[in-house]
Amino acid sequence: MWPLVLIASVGCYALKLAGHSVSPRVLDRPRVRRIAALLPLALLAALVAVQTFGSGQTLVVDARLPGVVAAAVALVLRAPFLVVVAVAGVVAAGLRYAGLAA
């Protein structure tokens, strides 16, 4: 785990430093800019989906799904971050405790 932690950390720092060091012409192109803006969107959406349904290489519907749906409702209601994640945890744990979901 340490090599991953260190290499990924140094790599993320190198990206930050590159922005401060590289000539603007290299990075400051509309296409590069758009892709950099869209990457977090695509990756975060994928992470939501995989962390909700994925279990290794299988797809399952369990207590995580109602938890995430509840979190989405909290977001629509403009709840702060801690409330959003707490709602997800409480709903999932509650359904499991009540035996209503795996």
Binding site: L4, S9, C12, K16, R33, L38, L41, G56, A63
Partner: protein, 256 residues
């Protein structure tokens, strides 16, 4: 704006402190997730101290927790961190620092510090831009790391993550990070498409790779889409509704 600089300076530092406190909420969750996923407290803290870019940290832990390879986890973190390079590009001429200060400025170049600095770019007083950057970067760095420590220590005291619903907290945290970015039709389409691609690929590819594959969705969309994204400078500052570190071309001053 040079007339009442001390008052403006105080206001900037007050705002920066507020952003730091808002970020701490995410830090606690990250610290808890890191330790619950199986990273040691030292490894979790190293990510906050050294990587210091929230979405990448959450992603690394998420991919590891899902059983993904180290390479997939690292690549996902790096791709999420790529936007910081663009922030640096934007901030470098405004800060005008060299040597050790530039190395520190790079580390503190994140969504929040960039958003807070660019929000003051129209001021004639360039001190405001620089003060906002340094104050926000420093505040977020301190609060992010303290809260990571707190969350990590807390998670050690907890039991089975599933009993507590922590496995539902992880996608909920990603959803909260995603939420402010999906304003408008194009972002929604890309988010839904990416989620669908990741789910469809999950049974086919090794863990970690389906998420990584959706980078292609962003790349293809970025190559072809019209330039409908907001410019880097349009940065509304509402720490209470912003999100940890995920910037994009429109940082909004939320969390690390």
């Amino acid at each position: 704006m040079t007339s009442d600089w001390p008052a403006e300076r105080r206001a900037i530092i007050r705002d920066a402190t507020g952003v730091g406190i808002a970020v701490a909420a995410y830090g606690v969750v990250f610290g808890a997730q890191g330790v619950a996923t199986g990273l040691s407290l030292a490894q979790t803290m190293t990510l906050s101290l050294l990587m210091f870019t929230g979405a990448s940290q959450f992603a690394l832990v998420g991919v590891v927790g899902a059983g993904g390879t180290g390479v997939a986890a690292a690549l996902t973190a790096l791709m999420l961190g790529a936007r910081n390079a663009l922030y640096g590009l934007r901030m470098a001429p405004l800060l005008g620092v060299t040597g050790a200060k530039r190395l520190l400025a790079a580390q503190w170049t994140i969504d929040e510090s960039t958003a807070m600095a660019l929000a003051r770019e129209d001021h004639t007083n360039e001190r405001a831009v620089r003060t906002a950057f340094w104050a926000t970067g420093g505040s977020v760095y301190v609060f992010w790391n303290l809260s990571t420590l707190l969350g990590g220590l807390g998670a050690k005291a907890l039991g089975d993550p599933r009993t507590l619903g922590l496995d539902a907290v992880i996608p909920a945290a990603f959803l909260a990070l995603l939420w402010p970015r999906i304003r408008g039709r194009e972002p929604w389409a890309i988010a839904v498409l990416s989620a669908a691609v990741a789910v469809l690929l999950t049974p086919v590819l090794r863990p970690g790779l389906p998420v990584l594959a959706t980078a292609l969705v962003a790349i293809i969309a970025g190559m072809w889409a019209r330039n409908t994204l907001a410019p880097l400078a349009s940065a509304p500052i509402h720490p209470e509704e912003s999100v940890h570190d995920e910037g994009d071309a429109t940082p909004r001053g939320g969390s690390a």
